[in-house]
Symmetry: C2
Subunit: 267 residues, 2 copies
């Protein structure tokens, strides 16, 4: 299934794709649908529906850094024994076509990522339980404010700017997409490809990450886990390259779709 939260009647509705039409599911969005535990039984066709941020209200948004083996090895580092984890908020997220509104003067960088949507309550889950607890996959861009990220040892303050992390456009269920088989994770800036990696080279795969996190904190339906970014970020270039006002960032994962967001500097 391809699931989404779509525009409908001045608000939103959870929806499932049926051919080229979106059909209503019984909740205002996918966060509420997953929270309710309701079966995704398709209802009426929603004419003119457009996907928006699929999960507007995750309780936890946890991100993994340094997770693509090819990128880590090319930088001369050893593969990590444990995932590096940090957090964002529901407030950090933005829709698949949303403008990313940020103050002028920040060093804003891209990080195309596969995101995992949790579909069950996971507490000290093993890999098998974690795999069964995946509701689906979606596309995210872990937009990072590098100057704030590196002000201190802890990255959080560069990673949690409100409305900076686009997610969507759809959530694809695991029966239709298996990241272990390899999907391409691509980022383009103003049409130029700047990142291209493959989820086959993830050090910690989605089930690893969910099991590991669930050792210390419970995960619940609708929570999001971002799996890290492949090589090609702007901060690693010589000289570094950051996003400018008006830059268009496209984030694409094969089988999942494309985010298209414009950076807008505001005061």
């Amino acid at each position: 299934m391809h699931l989404a939260t779509v525009t409908h009647a001045g608000g939103t509705s959870a929806a499932v794709l049926d051919g080229s039409s979106w059909r209503a599911l019984p909740a205002a969005d996918l966060s509420a649908l997953l929270d309710s535990g309701a079966e995704p039984v398709p209802g009426e066709v929603l004419a003119g529906a457009v996907p928006v941020l699929p999960l507007p209200a995750p309780r936890k948004v946890i991100c993994c850094g340094l997770n693509y083996a090819d990128h880590i090895l090319e930088t001369g580092r050893e593969l990590p024994a444990h995932p590096t984890l940090f957090t964002k908020y529901a407030d950090t997220l933005a829709g698949p076509e949303a403008d990313l509104l940020l103050p002028a003067g920040l060093q804003v960088d891209w990080e195309a990522e596969l995101a995992v949507v949790v579909g069950a309550t996971l507490r000290r889950a093993d890999r098998e339980a974690a795999l069964k607890g995946i509701a689906g996959y979606t596309v995210a861009n872990d937009i990072s404010v590098r100057d704030w990220q590196y002000r201190t040892l802890e990255w959080f303050q560069g990673k949690a700017w409100d409305g900076s992390t686009p997610v969507g456009p759809v959530v694809v269920t695991p029966d239709e997409l298996d990241p272990a088989e390899g999907v391409e994770v691509i980022c383009r800036v103003n049409g130029e490809q700047v990142q291209r990696g493959n989820t086959r080279t993830l050090v910690f795969d989605p089930a690893d990450l969910l099991a590991y996190i669930s050792t210390f904190t419970v995960l619940r339906p609708g929570d999001l886990v971002l799996t890290g970014t492949p090589g090609g970020i702007g901060a690693a270039r010589r000289p570094p390259r950051y996003l400018a006002d008006g830059d268009v960032v496209e984030t694409e994962i094969t089988g999942l779709g494309t985010l298209r967001n414009t950076v807008r500097f505001v005061n």
Copy 2:
């Protein structure tokens, strides 16, 4: 005012201290009261009421590290230009007398801290607005799982173990307590004093922290900001000292009260 969430009729109630009695406030807990924006008009006396976790549902729990000048300077470091920030969850919190249930074999350490309760919606607030947006102060212990904290560069995975961070017992409003005038922050383990600092030596005071955080993410009524710990943590001892099963941790701040929690290793 001394505010709390107290036991009442098999559930809980928000409450305000009147002499030696707790009087009901119109919400099930202080999170709901602050969320509703209702005036804290005292109702009936709640006989036998006992304070529990005052804020069971903060949307954001943000912590500052390396914030006591005397401790930083004694370690030979320079004072930081920016606060080091990381996060916990509502799930991380525990009541003022709760047992702290953690798996055996972890390196569990204490960090007595002043916590700030947000009372207004703060977005890019200046110091003055941030100061006005403080609902009150409470006691917290940022219990830290050191082996997980230092597995990677990011501390989060050692800081967010469910049910590990006691908070309470009361929230005291700013008209009754001003951390700038200096309150003592004390930790005892099995009756032995292991930490004693004073909030006069905070590098970033509560208003600084709220204003800084609100630059990148909105703060809302009921959110919690932990202000960092003074010297004396177990990991800094030679040899290091960690908490053992059955150890009793008391966390006291003058004018705010005392948390008393027992560490229990479980499997």
